[in-house]
């Protein structure tokens, strides 16, 4: 049976003047209808690039060098730009990070919503406006009729992100990819936006890929999680399992560093020492080895592969594979 | 590591070596500079010296045309001067004026820009208002106007005698706001940075902070606009001279040479206009090409009008 979305061994490279660098190195994951997946990692880990490569919209000079993206069983990673356009914003919608920059400042909200529908459906302006209104109501925007004639700068950041969510709903997509949808917003609004996304996924049976650096948010929203480090997925599995019993030392560190999660009030937060390497100087072996408290000789020599470590979790760590590939949990 | 070594390993030199256009422009520019500097020694004749000039030799075409003479490789102008020599001297004059004018602009502009950017408040508002008002007029028009006033004040006779310093002053006065605005913009960017705060905390005086710390950090943008300004100054000088507000025909710059040649273009003596024209375009073009390259390499945030 085919999955709604399947990413197989995806590799993305950036062609730079002094040669190509690998931004994503063999990422694989699956998504079913109505399922919610969290892509977690520090900035620069490659999670946004992964999100954009699904709809083949990586900024130049990036390109997909290997692997496949299958949507409803069809290999969309080999589609032409024209074919891909019928999927972008139609079956797969995206929500960008900064709502202040996402909407074109010189066009009204209505204009930008109507053109999106008209790009994918053969529909009159009045008909498109009706859909737009309906979706604005769905994201709980007060006085939606008025919004259509407003310009983006007349609205607050939280309001704009709601509008963008409404835009992404216009064509009833099967998947929404949300790239750090709350990072640029105030904390109070962050929770509202996350609640809204969850509510919409439930009501419309939409799948969600939530890209974020905030493990706390992911653990509350998604069913599945993929942790990325230096361009690789290093742990992948059901959210509750990964959050409760992290296998990879990096995931472990991430979870321990969430305030109020593991540590008691008054105690210091756990920090992972050091910094994630830049893509141009990834250390040999396991990319995490210089920061890892479990490091052994093997870690600096061979790169660990993502292997089944039990309880449907996959992890890439030499120290945590046991015998037949199972951990000792 | 010595400065030379540092320079040898810099990105600046690296990208220069890779850019053929930049290398070519640089070589041509250096050649032109050398020619201008050594003009009195290498020119076959001194076109400024009336004794060398014989009106009987006027309008001789270049040596490869019919009627040309090998003594005058590029022909002679309407006064019987060797074109090649006159062009060397003309280039020299144009360079002196452009260089002087840019130095003057830079000095004025940097002083005003530093003062405005550092003191802020009313000083800044006043100085920048002034710069803005002047900036809203095209520099060429300002230059022409100042030139016109100077010519009326000094009378044509003395104006021609004092033409070089006057042109320096005219072009300098006409274009300083560009420097002032650029410097101010980068000073304002720098002043709020922590190193300035730190310098203030350890008790350095304002002028010291300005000159030792802030100014060096603004120099990138100064370098980039300087190339544009030199090109502009050369063009302004040529324009002023073409209009008869610049160098007199007796000691011509490239602009006045073109002006004097224009009358003869209808009678077929194209070389009096064309050669100085090509000379002038070549000079400005290589400066512009180098400027483009420099802007790409240094990529400073320039003040956007």
């Amino acid at each position: 049976m085919s999955h709604l979305l399947e990413v197989r061994d995806l590799e993305v490279k950036f062609a730079l003047r002094f040669g190509d660098i690998t931004a994503i190195d063999g990422a694989s994951f699956k998504l079913d209808r109505g399922e919610k997946l969290g892509l977690v990692g520090e900035s620069g880990a490659g999670k946004s690039v992964t999100g954009f490569s699904i709809i083949n919209l990586i900024s130049k000079p990036g390109y997909i060098s290997k692997g496949k993206v299958l949507f409803e069983g069809k290999e969309i990673s080999s589609y032409s730009d024209e074919q891909m356009r019928k999927i972008r914003g139609n079956s797969i919608s995206m929500i960008f990070q900064d709502p202040m920059m996402t909407l074109n400042p010189v066009f009204t909200i209505g204009f930008q919503m109507v053109e999106t529908i008209q790009a994918h459906r053969n529909i009159s302006k009045a008909g498109a406006e009706k859909i737009a209104l309906e979706k604005l109501k769905k994201v709980h925007i007060p006085s939606p009729e008025q919004r259509l004639s407003q310009y983006p700068h007349e609205l607050s950041g939280g309001m704009r992100q709601r509008i963008i969510i409404a835009v992404s709903l216009l064509t009833d997509p099967a998947i929404i990819i949300a790239d750090e949808p709350t990072t640029a917003l105030d904390v109070t609004i962050q929770a509202e936006i996350m609640d809204l996304l969850q509510e919409l996924c439930a009501s419309d049976n939409m799948a969600l890929i939530l890209i974020t650096h905030d493990l706390g948010v992911v653990s509350q929203v998604t069913e599945k999680i993929a942790v990325m480090y230096a361009g690789k997925i290093i742990e992948y599995g059901p959210t509750d399992q990964v959050v409760t019993y992290p296998v990879h030392p990096y995931t472990e560190g991430l979870i321990k560093s969430i305030p109020g999660n593991v540590v008691n009030p008054g105690e210091d937060l756990v920090q992972i020492p050091g910094m994630m390497p830049t893509l141009t100087n990834i250390p040999p072996g396991c990319a995490f080895n210089p920061r890892c408290y479990l490091r052994q000789a093997v870690c600096t020599k061979t790169t660990p592969e993502l292997k089944d470590v039990g309880n449907s979790v996959m992890a890439a760590c030499h120290m945590r594979y046991k015998g037949d590939g199972r951990t000792n949990q | 590591m010595t400065k030379l070594q540092k320079f040898k390993e810099s990105y600046f030199l690296y990208s220069f070596k890779r850019d053929k256009v930049a290398i070519g422009s640089f070589l041509i520019l250096v050649t032109l500079l050398m020619l201008a500097i050594t003009a009195p020694w290498i020119a076959p004749m001194n076109p400024y010296d009336a004794e060398n000039i014989d009106i009987m030799n006027s309008e001789i075409p270049p040596m490869w045309s019919e009627g040309g003479e090998s003594v005058y490789p590029l022909g002679t102008d309407n006064m019987g001067r060797d074109m090649f020599s006159t062009m060397l001297y003309g280039l020299r004059t144009s360079m002196i004026i452009a260089g002087g004018a840019v130095l003057l602009q830079a000095t004025l502009g940097i002083l005003v820009g530093l003062t405005a950017g550092y003191f802020g408040g009313r000083t800044d508002a006043f100085l920048m208002r002034m710069a803005d008002i002047q900036f809203s007029f095209p520099y060429l028009m300002v230059a022409i106007f100042i030139g016109a006033i100077f010519q009326v004040v000094f009378g044509i006779g003395s104006y021609e005698r004092l033409a070089v310093p006057l042109l320096i002053v005219i072009i300098g006065l006409a274009e300083w706001p560009m420097y002032a605005r650029t410097i101010r913009a980068s000073v304002i960017g720098e002043v709020n940075k922590e190193y300035v705060e730190a310098a203030r905390v350890i008790g350095l005086s304002r002028p010291t902070i300005m000159i030792r710390h802030v100014l060096p950090n603004s120099l990138t943008s100064v370098m980039v606009i300087s190339t544009i300004q030199v090109a502009n100054a050369v063009m302004s000088e040529a324009a002023l001279s073409y209009l008869g507000l610049g160098m007199p025909v007796t000691t011509p710059s490239l602009g006045s040479l073109i002006r004097s040649g224009f009358e003869f273009i209808f009678s077929g003596s194209w070389w009096i206009t064309v050669f100085p024209g090509i000379w002038l375009i070549l000079f400005v073009l290589v400066i512009n090409l180098l400027g483009d390259w420099l802007r790409d390499v240094l990529n400073p945030k320039l003040y956007k009008g």
């Binding site: 920059m101 010189v106 | 809203s136 400005v284 073009l285």
Partner: protein, 327 residues
């Protein structure tokens, strides 16, 4: 918005005051109003009497206020060469210059928009490189050389276009004020070379400006978002990127129109075009201070008005400025 317009107008008035002060100071120190009125053949005694009558012995401020008052009534002094009010002389020459600037502006808009956009969208294509190379060459050629080159080729060598003057003109409003060259074949023929020459200096600048603005816009998040929405490239380029590119370009265009007036002095000299620039040089050569100052004030006002109008217009088309009210 209202406050914004008022502020811009106040600023414009301030600038005009500064210009008039500069103009008056020059006139006051080097001009000779007596000569302007009665010529040079008067006795010193008559001169002194005239000076007293004209109030030339009053304090500077009194004279300046009088100058301002007169200027507001359209009296900018008397031209010595033409023996007529300076403003009238300038207005008489204005249509020729305006037609020259209009023609060039038209050429610039027609060519620089498509070329600028093309070079931004296809920066690596051969044609784009050619255009960019040509524009670098273009900014390095002084306008009078372009003009001379055209004259040499089209007038002297090929005899296809006239080399000087405005040719046959038609009286536009029937009152003798506006002689237009746009309505006769001969007039249009005479316009071609001067307009192209004048346009040639601004064209490279606009191609580069439009190109760099467009490239900057194409890098923005909202363009990426537009692609993520599945819009067609045509729509992204010609609707989304186009409007955002045009906003700053409109502003610069307004200012550049002013700069074109400076270059008309050169163009008009080469083509002996009887416009304001030609008149200005004539006034310089014959030391007609009153006419010079009048020219300064008139051209200054044109600049200030154009700049103000462009700013206000920008405020109307750019929604961000419109509501914020301030810039």
């Amino acid at each position: 918005m209202f406050a914004f317009i008022i502020r811009r107008i106040l600023q414009a008035i301030l600038v005009m005051l500064v210009i008039s002060l500069v103009g008056f100071s020059i006139k006051n120190s080097i001009g000779d109003p007596v000569r302007d009125l009665v010529g040079e053949r008067v006795t010193p005694k008559e001169r002194a009497a005239m000076a007293e009558k004209l109030g030339l012995n009053d304090p500077f401020s009194t004279q300046y206020v009088r100058f301002l008052k007169n200027a507001l009534h359209g009296d900018l002094g008397t031209s010595f060469i033409y023996r007529k009010p300076a403003l009238e002389v300038i207005l008489k020459h204005a249509p020729a210059t305006i037609e020259l600037v209009l023609g060039s502006a038209l050429i610039i808009v027609i060519f620089s928009l498509p070329l600028g956009m093309y070079t931004a969208l296809k920066p690596r294509s051969l044609f784009s490189r050619f255009v960019m190379g040509f524009s670098t060459l273009g900014v390095s050629v002084p306008v009078f050389l372009t003009a001379i080159g055209f004259i040499y080729l089209f007038a002297v060598t090929w005899h296809v276009l006239p080399s000087y003057g405005r040719g046959e003109t038609v009286d536009l409003f029937g009152n003798g004020y506006w002689q237009t060259g746009f309505l006769t074949i001969d007039g249009l023929k005479h316009l071609i070379l001067p307009c192209i020459s004048l346009a040639s200096i601004m064209m490279p600048l606009f191609i580069r400006l439009i190109r760099s603005e467009m490239m900057e816009v194409l890098e923005t998040e909202y363009i990426k978002y537009a692609r993520a929405k599945g819009l067609s490239p045509m729509r992204i380029w010609f609707v989304h990127a186009f409007k955002n590119t045009l906003l700053p370009v409109v502003t610069v265009f307004g200012i550049q129109i002013g700069i074109m007036f400076a270059f008309t002095i050169l163009t008009e000299t080469v083509f002996q075009w009887q416009g304001m620039g030609f008149m200005f040089l004539d006034a310089v050569q014959r030391a007609d201070i009153s006419l010079l100052i009048a020219y300064l004030v008139v051209v200054g006002s044109v600049f200030v008005i154009v700049n103000t109008v462009v700013d206000v217009m920008y405020g109307f088309i750019n929604p961000t400025v419109r509501v914020a009210g301030t810039k």
